[in-house]
């Protein structure tokens, strides 16, 4: 009967070892055990995207993943985006375009957009809409979010 397991993952570029309850989600462990509260807890059914993180280069809902499933994998959260206190291009574009309103959905929006731009440096508006379709914004700042992703993509290609 194993209820608790040690896991090892690469978290935001650094090796991380942590003992987890096997029925705890990756989101719970990130927020409650590792203090990374950028990923938000919201719908808990994979519909809102506020908990989006990048696992092995792909955006996933951390509320739908057990922490034990992250064992041996590479996980990146919104806390990985800024370097030495400087916002990255994507974060800066969100600010410049007014895409950040109440801010609650933004960590998830950023991680979905980050995953998109890593795979597709020159996305169309339609591709941005599809990539971010799993991220809801109750402020309905979708236009500005799309503009921000387009602007960040352009800045990154320069």
């Amino acid at each position: 009967m194993t209820h608790r397991l040690p896991i090892e993952l690469t978290l935001n570029g650094r090796p991380q070892r942590v003992d987890v309850e096997v029925h705890h989600t990756l989101l719970e462990v990130l927020r409650d055990q590792l203090g990374l509260t950028g990923s938000k807890e919201c719908c808990l059914v994979g519909e809102c995207g506020a908990c989006t993180v990048i696992v092995d280069g792909r955006s996933v809902n951390s509320c739908l993943m057990l922490a034990v499933e992250a064992d041996g994998h590479e996980v990146r959260t919104v806390e990985s985006l800024a370097r030495a206190g400087d916002l990255n291009e994507l974060q800066r574009a969100f600010l410049d375009k007014g895409a950040t309103q109440c801010g609650f959905c933004i960590p998830g929006q950023l991680m979905s957009a980050e995953a998109l731009l890593e795979h597709n440096p020159d996305p169309t508006v339609e591709e941005i809409h599809e990539a971010l379709a799993g991220n809801l914004c109750r402020c309905a700042g979708y236009e500005q979010i799309t503009e921000a992703v387009l602007a960040a993509a352009e800045a990154l290609r320069r």
Partner: protein
């Protein structure tokens, strides 16, 4: 969330032994996008969750075998929707995989999980039915091949036996040039379950296959070998005469929150005619294979 013990077998035999030992008290986790919802709302309360992601035979892989395409049970929707062979030879399956949930869901959700949960609304079920897919299972008595039409029973119920798990889903390459389309109705785009799903293929011999779901306890498949449906010059009236006996098998539940039975039945007919038309266009246009 419901607490459980967690097992991570590293061989197929060990996975089968665990599933056989615990029977209905064990639940498989692959992508987890369905299971986690059940664990969280206590609608499923397993003693053991068996994670299949360390079983080498089940690792994500899409392979060409002799005359068929094999999709391992660890393969996620995101890999299926962009796979060149799926896009070229089984286009409607790529279309179905591409509309499941959101990118985040498709990065985790597996094709095998989609059919094993056996939701009547499973997007990939209609294409797998029209292409006569085979579910390859492995259990205490070794491997077993199950025609997809004999796999679904009703929501959350398949013909898998105690101790069995799906190792792969195989699609035979159609013997003739074939083209098809997958269509569905949802309340909104992205992260919604379908109110009606429908897939249609036509081939150069005039054989039409139609499968639909979300309008009854399980997805259903039909064949028209008369050539009437596949006839590009066919009239609406003659097509309807063939379609109606197929579509009348639909029996949508009145309890669903997503759409009324009347709406589903009306939209089923719209989707059927639209999909037949699109399949014919694609066959003529040469975008099928």
């Amino acid at each position: 969330m419901h607490p459980f013990t967690y097992q991570r077998p590293s061989t197929l035999d060990e996975a089968v032994r665990l599933l056989d030992e615990h029977g209905p008290a064990a639940r498989i986790i692959a992508g987890g996008t369905d299971l986690m919802l059940g664990l969280r709302d206590y609608s499923t309360q397993p003693d053991v969750v068996v994670d299949l992601k360390r079983v080498p035979e089940l690792e994500p892989a899409i392979r060409q075998l002799d005359g068929r395409l094999s999709i391992s049970s660890g393969t996620v929707m995101a890999d299926i929707e962009v796979h060149p062979v799926v896009l070229q030879h089984f286009h409607p399956l790529a279309e179905a995989a591409a509309v499941v949930g959101s990118v985040q869901i498709r990065n985790r959700a597996t094709l095998a999980g989609n059919i094993c949960n056996a939701s009547p609304a499973a997007d990939t079920a209609p294409p797998l039915l029209v292409y006569d897919a085979t579910v390859v299972a492995h259990g205490p008595n070794g491997p077993r091949r199950i025609p997809i039409d004999e796999f679904f029973v009703r929501s959350r119920q398949t013909t898998l036996r105690r101790g069995e798990l799906v190792t792969a889903i195989e699609l035979p390459h159609p013997p003739r040039a074939t083209a098809g389309a997958y269509l569905r109705i949802t309340r909104r785009r992205g992260t919604d379950l379908a109110s009606v799903t429908l897939c249609c293929t036509v081939d150069e011999a005039g054989i039409t296959r139609i499968a639909f779901g979300s309008v009854g306890p399980r997805p259903l498949a039909f064949t028209d070998s008369s050539g009437v449906l596949a006839d590009p010059e066919g009239s609406e009236t003659t097509r309807r005469a063939i379609l109606e006996p197929m579509l009348s098998a639909a029996a949508p539940s009145a309890r669903s929150v997503r759409a009324s039975p009347e709406y589903r039945l009306a939209m089923l007919r719209v989707l059927a005619e639209r999909a037949v038309g699109r399949a014919i266009e694609r066959l003529i246009g040469g975008s099928g294979t």
